[in-house]
Symmetry: C2
Subunit: 305 residues, 2 copies
């Protein structure tokens, strides 16, 4: 079954302590859609300007991503520029130019409204809600968010949370949203706001998954070098949603979600090995499965005798 992915599509300029690259393919929907495409068909909803390079359109299409929902508007594509600090864990936004994204209304093509799996990648909660308003009884709705929306659009976000099955956010955002210092309390607290499941991403420390009296702790793949963390969270969300859509089980179980979290982590671990989506261009399903097995090995320990 296909997954609908809505979010930003942009051109990024990224600086790390080692290199800087300009006008790279970026945006939450770009990362999430490409990641999901390893498992299932993707209906992409977003907006680009008339300057959006055809090579990127071709790349999306080569991944089997349906672009009927990608609007091309007169003007410039959304642009973001950021700089990572020496530890690669923190970054400063240097500039954000919304451009055509400023007046974006995600209107779904009729063929999209019955897509059973929905990933509301990171955009304003009001837009995420607007997409949900157009959907007909989706089977599973997953939303990603960020600190900006917690700080500037909290009431929209709280409204959204009542309507999603799963929320994905990072550790500092979970603390900010709930006012809890303990991530364990934060996870439970967010579940009380609506989502049945919560995934808290911890970057180099992996990810925590919360369900109803259920808990899963997933480590991060032991990478020696991270070249560009941009899009790691979006790639995680895309891999997770794509895997679940590809299964299309009659019931979403915690077991399946755990596996989806590992797949998401695998995809994200590959993504940060190169700038933008460069690593994804050569990534094979075989490599994904190989690293999935490595995750299994590195978290394995013996049962009690």
């Amino acid at each position: 079954m296909p997954v609908l992915v809505v979010g930003s599509i942009g051109l990024d300029t990224v600086k790390t302590p080692i290199e800087e690259h300009a006008d790279l393919l970026g945006g939450s929907a770009s990362y999430a859609a490409v990641s999901a495409s390893y498992f299932t068909g993707v209906n992409l909803v977003g907006i680009v300007g008339d300057d959006f390079p055809k090579t990127h359109v071709d790349y999306f299409q080569s991944r089997g991503i349906d672009l009927a929902g990608m609007q091309i508007a007169p003007g410039k594509t959304f642009r973001w520029s950021g700089e990572y600090h020496w530890d690669m864990n923190t970054r400063t936004t240097r500039s954000t130019d919304l451009n055509v994204f400023e007046h974006f209304t995600p209107t779904l093509p009729p063929a999209y409204v019955e897509t059973p799996y929905v990933l509301l990648a990171n955009i304003a909660p009001a837009l995420q809600i607007h997409v949900l308003d157009q959907m007909r009884r989706p089977k599973l709705v997953i939303a990603d968010t960020m600190n900006l929306w917690i700080e500037t659009a909290k009431s929209d976000l709280l409204e959204l949370l009542k309507r999603v099955d799963m929320l994905i956010l990072n550790d500092s955002e979970a603390r900010e949203l709930t006012g809890e210092t303990s991530l364990i309390k934060a996870g439970s607290s967010i579940r009380r706001l609506g989502p049945k499941y919560v995934a808290i991403k911890k970057g180099e420390h992996g990810c925590l998954l919360f369900g109803d009296n259920l808990f899963f702790s997933c480590g991060a793949y032991p990478l020696e070098d991270i070249h560009d963390p941009t899009g790691a969270g979006d790639t995680f969300a895309g891999g997770l949603a794509g895997y679940l859509a590809s299964r299309n089980d009659s019931e979403i179980t915690f077991e399946k979600l755990r596996k989806a979290v590992v797949y998401g982590s695998v995809l994200a671990s590959y993504n940060v090995e190169a700038f933008s989506l460069e690593r994804m261009r050569t990534l094979s399903l075989h490599e994904i499965e190989e690293r999935y097995q490595m995750f299994k090995l590195m978290s394995h320990f013996e049962v009690l005798e």
Copy 2:
């Protein structure tokens, strides 16, 4: 087989955002010895003043800890006072009174020199080396350390590292010791300094274990409330060393070490549930095994079909 534990024995005053308690049993050797005592006999090496409460001596003895190596010197017992910040992850030392610890020379009773398993809990590397100098061919030597020694006694520490099988330290210390921001690089880098195995503790994020092309990522137990993190690392080291000593396998394999890391994590997770060693006073082996199974469950995910 017994484990020799050397380190500090002290009286702690600990303040958290919620409560404050004075003159609690503390010190790296106290935590490590009690933790190890769940698995095997312990030969404790340390020093206390003549003001050291008999109740603490009785407690050590009730745990089957041999105290022939615990010197009682005229004067006051080592005292430490610290305050945890709101997030319980960082703390400030309010005072350190070395007292009798200032002129401590860990001289081993003759009966201790052939103890096959050695845990050099956190004390000055020169003292850790002095203990090793007295040992006869120990089977496994594990050392714990801290930022203070990296900053003030680095050459001693580097000397020590050539003589230990395993180093335990926390994430910020691993970064400080190696100058590497990546914990994965730091782990490998420390192995090149001597220890065949390195365990990097990450507090609420669990622990990483490094061996020769071997890697294990262990999550932390999902505790909602942490009452006193003091001694968590020492308890971890004690549980780890105690379990390995109790096995006394002809060869220390990575498989056994993984299990030891989980046992250490279980002990530490219990320890932080109450101030000082209070939780340990009622902790049973059954509870330890129960939580070991929980660690197994919370890190489990399905293999590929």
